[in-house]
């Protein structure tokens, strides 16, 4: 596919999508405080441009896999956001029927392969998805996302090597949001240029500005194009920022409010909206209409979640084995 022009309609879609993701996450945070969502809740606020730029570069049948900061990616891939909200609330109408919860979103139909809670656990899986596409002769590419903290796992380094050895159609995307929980990147290695980890494997690698969806698109386009044309994997370090705490119980003593504010000045949604206004891609009224649509859809999601039922207790035995009559040990 030739490289796309970033047209008016792209900007308008980016604006609406990213705004929706942001508001969806804000609402999830509010529901968490009301204890309607439990456990961990890792929000994507601030990182939206990474997803927006990536999606534009993907083609039908391309795959995505990521870690536990994973509520809005499946929405971007086409999953009904109501089902994501329901999953967050542990309802049987959710993407995993209430089994997975916040960290474990999946959609086979939309090529979203999770939602993984063990840091680094998804990295070899991403290579495996690509392995299968190559094996079957499909011209698809897998986008495998991870945090800056995840690159310190052995699974990352083993997978870099395997992906190069077997020339797999996969793009490894490190979303460097500055921190792994309370640990800054600078405190996890002797240098902070994470993208350079590709050099030892001779994997094409580069840093990318992750606050601007145009720059993300450019880098992703090149990497995906290379992978699709049998040029093998790429490692991108996309530099972004998370506005919220790691999960919901994080006092954030490891950073200053000023630092967060500094990044919020480069907010991807604002960047995109500024272009829309500058270039007069939409009138004030049209922008308000988008904002209203977003608000309404978020409300619909909450309503759907609230009205849905929790799974029945007997569902605990569902989906553990594909075998239908597996003989579970019942208590004695």
């Amino acid at each position: 596919m030739p490289k796309k022009k970033i047209t008016k309609s792209v900007y308008l879609k980016w604006y609406e999508d990213m705004l929706f993701w942001r508001k969806f996450e804000d609402k999830a945070a509010a529901l968490y405080i009301q204890q309607k969502i439990r456990g961990f809740l890792h929000l994507y606020n601030g990182q939206e441009a990474v997803l927006a730029g990536s999606l534009l570069a993907m083609e039908k049948g391309d795959k995505m896999i990521t870690a536990y900061r994973n509520h809005v990616q499946p929405i971007g891939m086409g999953v009904d956001p109501k089902k994501i909200m329901a999953e967050l609330m542990g309802k049987v109408t959710g993407t995993s029927e209430g089994n997975g919860g916040s960290m474990h979103m999946f959609s086979k139909e939309h090529h979203f392969y999770g939602g993984h809670g063990i840091v680094g656990g998804q990295i070899p899986l991403g290579a495996g998805l690509a392995f299968a596409d190559k094996y079957a002769g499909r011209k698809n590419v897998t986008l495998c996302y991870m945090g800056d903290g995840a690159v310190r796992q052995g699974s990352f380094h083993e997978t870099m090597n395997l992906a190069m050895l077997w020339n797999l159609p996969v793009v490894f995307v490190i979303e460097n949001n500055g921190y792994a929980m309370g640990t800054s990147v600078a405190r996890t290695a002797n240098h902070t240029d994470i993208w350079k980890l590709g050099l030892g494997y001779e994997m094409p690698c580069a840093p990318v500005d992750g606050m601007d969806p145009v720059k993300v698109y450019d880098a992703m386009y090149e990497a995906i194009d290379r992978a699709r044309n049998e040029g093998g994997p790429t490692l991108l370090e996309v530099r972004t920022y998370r506005y919220k705490g790691h999960s919901m119980s994080d006092a954030q003593h490891y950073r200053t409010k000023d630092e967060v504010a500094e990044y919020q000045k480069k907010d991807p949604i604002t960047i995109v909206l500024d272009v829309i206004k500058d270039k007069k891609y939409a009138s004030k009224k049209e922008i308000e209409e988008i904002d209203d649509r977003v608000k309404e859809l978020v409300n619909e999601c909450v309503e759907f979640g609230e009205e849905s039922d929790f799974p029945d207790a007997s569902n605990i035995y569902a989906h553990v084995y594909k075998q239908e009559d597996y003989p579970f040990i019942k208590n004695h």
Partner: protein, 327 residues
């Protein structure tokens, strides 16, 4: 003199006291230093001991668990914290193949005085990968010792013993216990690894348990007391080695046993203890032993599924009545 402190404070006190005694002890793990511990169980320790001895790591469990074992081969006494034992799985090779076997493989040249600690088992709605109890997995491995304290008093005494132990010891705590309060003496004390504790004396039924879930057994015993059923509740405290004597003596007195454990049933600690009890006290048993575990499934996220997964006081009450043939 004793005072009431939190479980997490007891953990920090145990580590700090031992580190004051011995320069060779250090604490290493994710967020243990600047963040004061993901669950604040090492609060204040960076301030007291400095970054040489209280060490933040990247998310590299395999690496730092192995660094711990290697440093123990070369004279140090590491305390390695796993943010939770769910994440010890990426490091399990270092624990099972290296820490547990080095002493024998080297013909007695290298013992490994290391402590691996952190929370185990479920902690609310965290889903399948973050809700696992591996006490029986580790207890299965010769060369390791496995301690599962259930009170602030116990964790302090047992953790100190673990740190002083010349063999690898796992101390398995719980996110849901760190806020628990209990009496802990001001004076120094240690508790022997491998000794069970009778938490409540009774004559009708022996309930054996360990770790956080024992609270359900204690709740059940209290309820049953109201119906004139007297339960003896034994806290194993250590699941390798297991204090079989205390259990068998109790069963010889009560003639009935119920085991409560937060773990999958197949190959659980309950299974092992039940075998030994039937072997050693067969003639004393007036009813088949009952075992309460989690369901034979991963733990799922929804609250209804969490409730379905975990054993609870009501099930204990029913099981106790079951072994007493009271309907």
């Amino acid at each position: 003199m004793s005072r009431v402190i939190q479980f997490r404070e007891a953990v920090a006190e145990a580590m700090s006291e031992e580190m004051r005694r011995d320069e060779n002890i250090y604490l290493m793990g994710e967020e243990v230093a600047e963040y004061n511990g993901a669950y604040k169980a090492s609060k204040g320790m960076l301030d007291e001991f400095g970054p040489k001895r209280v060490i933040d790591t990247p998310i590299a469990e395999l690496g730092f668990a192995g660094v711990g074992v290697g440093s123990a081969m070369n004279g140090l006494r590491p305390i390695i914290e796993f943010m939770t034992f769910n994440f010890s799985l990426v490091a399990i090779d270092q624990i099972i193949n290296n820490a547990a076997k080095m002493y024998q493989m080297s013909g007695g040249q290298f013992n490994i005085p290391i402590t691996f600690r952190g929370p185990t088992a479920s902690a609310g709605q965290l889903g399948a990968t973050h809700s696992q109890a591996f006490e029986n997995w580790y207890a299965n491995t010769p060369g390791l010792k496995v301690v599962v304290p259930s009170t602030p008093y116990d964790v302090k005494g047992l953790l100190k013993s673990a740190i002083r132990d010349d063999d690898p010891v796992l101390v398995m705590e719980s996110e849901q216990m760190y806020g628990d309060k209990g009496e802990v003496p001001e004076e120094e004390y240690t508790l022997e690894i491998g000794k069970a504790n009778i938490r409540r004396e009774g004559k009708d039924v022996t309930i054996v348990s360990f770790g956080k879930i024992i609270k359900e057994a204690l709740k059940a015993a209290e309820e049953l007391e109201k119906e004139d059923i007297s339960c003896e509740v034994i806290d194993l405290r250590t699941v390798r080695p297991i204090d079989y004597d205390t259990i068998i003596q109790s069963v010889k007195k009560t003639n009935r046993m119920v085991f409560l454990e937060e773990a999958w049933p197949l190959g659980s600690i309950a299974t092992e203890v039940s075998f030994v009890v039937q072997r050693e006290a067969f003639d004393f048993l007036d009813a088949p032993i009952r075992r309460l575990t989690t369901t034979d499934t991963p733990m799922a996220y929804a609250p209804t599924l969490v409730d379905a997964f975990l054993p609870n006081a009501k099930q204990v009450i029913d099981a106790v009545k079951g072994v007493m043939y009271i309907s």
